[in-house]
């Protein structure tokens, strides 16, 4: 290699590069070259795609749609007390998974499988068809229904449900449950009930009512009516009792209302605060907040023996207990650090362990039925939203947008969270799915509703 001085530096570089390449070729021994060849060969073998014997076509679609299902009017030989088709339509639409066909778009209204002309429904782009008819029997009704697959033109379900005279709506919800569970594979909650507190806005005659309604907003029943405020209703695990807080002569009292007998039991009436009752998963104990010893602390009351056990011993405010589904621990709100945060304590007692470290306000915990997640009220600023925390990862996901969301309550299938929000200056109840995508408002006739509790 002759070294020459050039004014053009790039040429020098090219020379150098060439020198290096040729040098490497000389320096590399035959073994290195063989090894390189072997590695490249094996990599080539690994990474060339394997040859399928059969052709495969990929179908990719990024966006999700609501599955179209048609539910024509159910046939009947008598007058139906309720419009079953409308109830089922409403239920499946509210679930967020389905889109029901409007009645005016239907080309025919079959009531049994032999009347069905599948082409009528294929043209309309429907995937499923639910048809049925009602027969009046002594003591009630028999409802026959069939769920058909429009594309394959085959029957998926063929059922008969009997209902009493007053249980017609409930039977319709049962049909919705069966259809939803068969198609999506998830447990349905169309037939469940919710308890809430509603108040009339009349300042002169302020009345508070503890009410129970179907989850679609119908069949509202008043359980307790009082001139004193009612707070914190909570269902017992067997669904027969509701514990709530009310006032008696300016003293807060915890009551338990037995729904089957409509009797009322006064549970605690200690001086100071009596509040935030929470049923243990076995239904034998109530966790409460009492401030009889100075600052509000969590106590556990055994309902049979009336024995009271103090769980938290610190001068901060400790309230809003929530039992884990296995009954071994409780999550409660405490402001030991100055701002309300969530803490976890063993149900036998011990040292509380802090759970929430993000946000300046975390309160009102509610466990999911599988015990892996907690719904809570979460705020960084003055915007109070419902958030979901995964207990394993500690990850917090904000589900709602509202400015004053409170009282989250999980559904029994763990897929939806019921909460109270303020919309248009009124208190309303909403249900949000655990990934935050589906959000449905519950419609009630009453103006002010809050503090919902979903029945188990």
């Amino acid at each position: 290699m002759v070294a020459r001085h050039f004014s053009n530096r790039s040429f020098n570089y090219n020379l150098i590069i060439k020198i290096n390449a040729s040098d490497i070729d000389k320096v590399q021994g035959s073994t290195m070259k063989f090894l390189q060849f072997i590695t490249f060969f094996t990599l080539w073998i690994i990474f060339t795609p394997s040859i399928y014997a059969e052709l495969n076509i990929d179908i990719t679609k990024a966006f999700e749609t609501k599955v179209p299902i048609a539910i024509p009017q159910f046939g009947t030989n008598t007058s139906q007390p309720e419009n079953i088709s409308a109830i089922i339509n409403n239920d499946l639409n509210r679930s967020g998974y389905f889109k029901t066909l409007a009645e005016e778009d239907m080309l025919s209204q079959p009531t049994s499988a032999n009347q069905v002309i599948m082409k009528n429904w294929q043209i309309l782009g429907q995937e499923y068809l639910l048809i049925g008819h009602v027969q009046q029997t002594t003591g009630g009704y028999s409802i026959f229904f069939q769920l058909l697959d429009v594309s394959k033109n085959e029957q998926i379900m063929d059922y008969k449900i009997t209902s009493g005279v007053n249980e017609f709506r409930h039977a319709a919800h049962q049909i919705s449950d069966l259809v939803y569970e068969k198609l999506t594979g998830n447990k349905a909650i169309f037939g469940t009930k919710v308890a809430f507190v509603s108040s009339s806005n009349d300042i002169n005659n302020q009345r508070y009512q503890l009410q129970i309604a179907d989850v679609d907003g119908y069949n509202v029943k008043t359980i307790v009516s009082s001139t004193e405020p009612i707070m914190s209703p909570t269902w017992s695990p067997d669904g027969n009792k509701i514990a709530y807080v009310s006032f008696d002569n300016y003293q807060s009292v915890i009551f338990v209302k037995i729904l089957t007998t409509s009797n009322r039991i006064k549970v605690t009436a200690f001086p100071g605060i009596n509040g935030a009752p929470a049923w243990s998963p076995d239904g034998r104990k109530l966790a409460l907040t009492l401030s009889k010893n100075g600052s509000p602390d969590i106590y556990i009351l055994d309902l049979a023996s009336k024995q009271l056990r103090q769980l938290t011993h610190n001068p901060a405010i400790n309230t809003e207990p929530a039992w884990s589904p296995d009954g071994r621990s409780l999550v409660f709100t405490s402001n030991q650090t100055g701002k309300p945060q969530l803490y976890k304590i063993a149900s036998g007692g011990g040292k509380p362990k802090r759970l929430t470290f993000k946000g300046r306000y975390n309160a009102s915990a509610s466990f999911s039925p599988d015990g892996t997640k907690i719904a809570m009220v979460h705020a960084n600023d003055e915007n109070y939203k419902i958030a979901l925390m995964n207990l394993k990862t500690g990850n917090i996901k904000v589900l709602t947008s509202g400015s004053l969301d409170e009282s989250p309550s999980f559904s029994s299938n763990g897929a939806m969270i019921l909460y109270a929000a303020r919309k248009g200056g009124k208190g309303v109840l909403s249900a949000v799915s655990i990934d935050g995508r589906i959000n449905q408002k519950l419609k009630f006739q009453n103006s002010e509703v809050r503090e919902p509790a979903w029945a188990p």
Binding site: G29, T31, E54, L55, N56, I57, D58, I59, T60, K61, A62, F63, E64, T65, K66, V67, P68, G96, Y97, Q122, E127, D149, V150, S151, K152, L183, T184, G185, R354, F357, T393, G394, N395, A415, S433, I434, D435, R437, I438
Partner: protein
Amino acid sequence: MRYRSEFLLALIFHLFLILFFALSFTFKPKTGIQKPKDAIQAVIFNEADIEQQIQSFTQKNKEKTPKKSPLITTPDSASLPPINHQIEQKKVDKDHAKKFAQKTTQVKQALAQVTQIKRQQQKQTEEKARLAAIEKTKKIAQQQIDKAKQNHLAEIAQQQKEAKANRLAALKKAKRIAAAEKEETRLAELKKQEIEQEKLKTTLATIEKEVALKQQQLALEEKKESDKLIAEAEQLQILAQKKQREQAEKIKQQQLAKKIATKKAADLAKIKQQKSQEAARLAATKSSKNLEKEKQRLKAAIAADMASRQQSSKTVKQQVAIEKEKRQQQAEIARRQQQIASATAVQQQKEYAKRQQAQTVYRQKQAAQQQINQKIATENVTGVQQQLAQQQTAAAERIKAEQDRREILKVMSALSQKVKASWNRPISMTQGLSCIIRVKLSSSGQVIQATLFQSSGDSFFDRSALNAVHKASPLPIPDNQSLFEKQFKSFTFTFKPE
């Protein structure tokens, strides 16, 4: 394996370093932490001694005071002493009082000492309390530090969890990006294949063009040959015409020569006549004058004749010269024409010869090829011909394979579009679901059977995929029956949301 010496030295150096690092663990650290010096200097009091002193003092006081203080009357000594005794006693009392005062002062001092001791005791206790308080505060501070540490550890653990979650998300993103890149490479490969196909097309087109060009050239050559033949004929005609013209000219020249000759004869005859006339005149006139005149006339006539002869000869000469020139020119022209004709004739002959040669060569080649073909036909295909045939068949196969591949891709995209359009993908809480549906088609594209080959875990999703396949029936299939039998009679759809 050959390694350079520098590398080996470096390796040995590093191994030594590791060895020293390991050896360092064998050295024990220095023992003991020195206790700090006591900051508080405390005076240690022996409480037992102090109590004894106090007791001794009080006992002494008790012993002394009841004897020497007459003011303190005991209930036993009720009887009053006499006056003398009283005066004496008063003096004694005064002494005693002085002594008592002294003793009281002593007692007071002792009491003061006692109080001092008590104060010191109190101080000691206070100091102890202070120490205890300080220790308590230290304990509280330590507890708070522990709590803060625990919180800090919890926060760190949380942050680590978040970091892990972020890493997982980043990994998922990277996987998605890798999948996208893989798809892009696949698309690039498909494009490359298409480009190769186009290249083959173009080569085929160029080959065809070349063939066409050759054909055109052959046609042109043929045309040229025919044209040349026609030209030859024309030229022959021209030659003939020229020959005729030459002959005509020759005849004309002969006629001219005849005319000249007749003219000459005429002139000679005229001259003879003139001469005879002149002789006659001379004969007629014998006078010298007349003779002279006649001689002059004769001379003049002769001169005139001479002149006229000369003129005529000149004219004849000119005519002859002109005629000669004409003849020469004509001869030259004829020569040139002949030369040209000969040259052209030569050229034509050469070309003709060449053409004939080319034709003969061509015929020979054809004959040779025919012979070769005959040889091949008779001899049953040699290796070279086999290779040519193989190449041709391979080329034909490649073209067919490309066409087939294109057809398959077309049909695949049509299938995926149709099924995608009829797929109602349901909402699902889980992400990244994917299922495989196996499909069997009839010859008209109708779906005979669609089975779930691999479930996604969500029955709603699987059901929606099956419905999509059924809705899209009849599916588009290729026209080529063999292709359909091969690829599209039974195949799979993979339903992927992303």
